[in-house]
């Protein structure tokens, strides 16, 4: 598609603008706004982590201090410390960087793989669809965590491997959703119109069909982001996540849990952190769905 802009005839960029304007409707949903604020809160925390955190994430101090305890240099451990004396608050703040880096990255990769698969399956149907659907069914028939454990056990635990594993495990689900949307949209008359003027299949898929599927996909992406955050946390909790010593919310929970007898509150804080972020994504998705249904 040529990108020259015809004067007076608005082109693709306004489509993007419209999406943004559509997203701005979220203002009208209270639930959506709460979700958005939670997500934004964590994004800001991640960006300004060095300014906000009272300690470097891996600096050791008084081990297992209770929340509010005063450290050796007179610093306050607002949320306590772990068994190595690292400040929980600082680690939570720095941990948000990990999550907010890998979760969107992994989700993005999954979409980049899943969308073309879904488009092809839904638009071409026939054998293409059969093969792609079968592949995705096979992958989806693994309980997710089992799949992650096998993959991580094979390729090892690291940030990029988490991205790979998430992409592998989520792309089929995305494909299914896209496929369903395409199956519906491909029977629209404007698609026939494009076909009768001999447009190429990929142009039809990308220009005629995909833009009309964006609403449900954006909602799905929010939900999926939340779920990927849970996954990364869970893998961390099981010790299959990001390798130490960098802070990782799931990993922190599993470490602090062992000392619950000493102070059960210690492990609760990273749990609150992760839950609030997931909640943010889920509420955002719900709000977006609500406003998108309105007209």
């Amino acid at each position: 598609m040529t990108d020259q802009v015809v004067a007076g005839v608005p082109r693709r960029e306004s489509s993007l603008l419209r999406t943004v304007r559509g997203l701005a409707l979220i203002r009208e949903s209270a639930v959506g706004m709460i979700g958005l604020s939670l997500v934004l809160f964590w994004v800001l925390v991640a960006i300004f982590a060095p300014l906000l955190a009272p300690f470097p994430p891996n600096q050791t101090g008084l081990p297992l201090s209770p929340p509010g305890a005063v450290g050796l240099e007179g610093n306050v451990y607002w949320l306590g410390t772990d068994q190595l004396g690292r400040d929980t608050l600082s680690r939570i703040i720095y941990g948000s960087r990990q999550v907010l880096l890998y979760a969107p990255l992994a989700t993005l990769c999954a979409y980049l793989v899943g969308i073309p698969m879904g488009l092809a399956a839904g638009y071409r149907r026939g054998l293409t669809d059969d093969i792609l659907s079968f592949i995705s069914n096979v992958i989806l028939s693994f309980p997710v965590l089992v799949l992650y454990i096998i993959i991580i056990a094979t390729i090892g635990a690291s940030g990029s491997n988490i991205v790979i594993a998430v992409t592998f495990a989520s792309a089929p689900g995305i494909m299914r959703i896209v496929r369903g949307l395409v199956l519906d949209l491909r029977n629209r008359e404007y698609v026939f119109a494009a076909e009768t003027r001999g447009e190429s299949p990929w142009r039809i898929m990308l220009v005629e069909i995909l833009p009309n599927a964006r609403g449900p996909l954006i909602v799905d992406a929010c939900l999926r982001l939340g779920y990927v955050v849970i996954t990364i946390g869970t893998l961390g909790f099981l010790g299959l996540g990001l390798p130490p010593p960098d802070p990782d919310w799931g990993g922190m929970v599993s470490e602090l849990r062992s000392f619950a007898i000493i102070n059960p509150l210690l492990a609760v804080f990273p749990c609150i952190a992760i839950s609030s972020l997931v909640l943010g994504f889920n509420l955002l998705a719900d709000g977006l769905r609500e406003v998108s249904l309105r007209d």
Binding site: F142, L145, V146, I150, I152, I274
Partner: protein, 310 residues
């Protein structure tokens, strides 16, 4: 209908075969690492080669795969490296334990999810709907390990009502099941409820509900006979598919509470690189998942007269 079932089961077998290939490729294709995992990292190259030779690992991959698959089908999963016993000896009791935990959790989650979902969907946008929807979002946003931590610190450490681990060291103890079940239900009921709600809300806007109301049927009858019958077809599938999710959740919960189940077994196996045990667990997990999916599909077709009679 019969043809459909045959075909569905055919697909199921095919899926299992492909899954087995996948598992085989992931875990067994590199013979060197198999040897390391089985014999340990501190063995010499000669030792490993000898072992590999003896166990036919230098045969062509296809032959090895077929032999491996054959053993699987007859239930010979090999020996666990860690437990030093045949895999099946540890696997089946563990699976039974998980069955108890998962069964109770699924039952409760479905019960709560369906009931609240129907109530919420009856009047879309009403106060009950908002209430149920928001609490469903709230609870499904808490990862299992987080809710396990929350419940633990509250019920075990704060109130001291329940035991903190569920190892069942002194025999079966119902009290030890409470927390694991609670965690699973908290995470799962929301999905079922939201699905049911969406389905119910959609049915409530259909014209046949209007017909039923304008026939003069009492509201209760409209809901029970006309709405629920149609609205519960979709959640049925969701519940069956939930088993797949449950199998994931079970791993976390069992690890968190030290419950001696299947999930914890897979987890230990993977930590210890216990390759045969991982294979067996994976295959069994997928088998359960595929089986329930097949049942869900068959059930769906049966419940939906539009498909059943065409």
């Amino acid at each position: 209908m019969l043809i459909f079932m045959f075909r569905r089961f055919g697909t199921m077998v095919l899926t299992m075969v492909v899954v087995s290939i996948l598992v085989f490729l992931l875990l067994e294709i590199n013979v060197e690492s198999v040897a390391i995992k089985v014999l340990g990292p501190y063995t010499s190259v000669e030792q490993r080669n000898l072992w590999l030779e003896r166990n036919g690992y230098f045969d062509p991959a296809i032959l090895r795969y077929l032999r491996w698959l054959g053993n699987f089908v007859i239930g010979d999963f090999g020996s666990s490296v860690r437990f030093k016993v045949p895999v099946s000896d540890v696997l089946w009791p563990r699976l039974a334990n998980t069955g108890i935990l998962g069964g109770i959790a699924l039952f409760l989650a479905s019960l709560i999810g369906l009931t609240l979902g129907v109530i919420a969907g009856m009047r879309e946008g009403g106060p009950r709907d908002r209430g149920v929807s928001v609490s469903a979002i709230l609870t499904t946003s808490v990862p299992e390990f987080a809710s396990a931590t929350f419940l633990l610190s509250f019920f075990v450490f704060h109130l001291g009502w329940l035991p903190g681990t569920s190892g069942m060291a002194d025999g079966f103890d119902l009290r030890q099941l409470v927390l694991p079940v609670m965690v699973l239900v908290i995470y799962d009921w929301g999905y079922i409820a939201r699905m049911t709600r969406a389905s119910m809300a959609e049915v409530m806007t259909t014209h046949y509900i209007r017909t039923a109301v304008l026939k003069g049927l009492p509201y209760g009858q409209v809901i029970r006979r006309h709405a629920m019958r149609n609205a519960l077809i979709a959640p049925f599938t969701v519940i069956m598919l939930q088993i797949n999710w449950l199998l994931s959740g079970v791993i976390v919960v069992e690890v968190a509470f030290g419950y001696k189940g299947f999930g914890a077994l897979l987890y230990e196996a993977s930590l210890n690189q216990d390759i045969y045990l991982i294979e067996a667990c994976a295959m069994v997990a997928v088998f359960v998942a595929v089986m329930t999916q097949t049942l869900a599909d068959v059930g769906y077709t049966y419940l939906n007269p539009r498909i059943r009679f065409s």
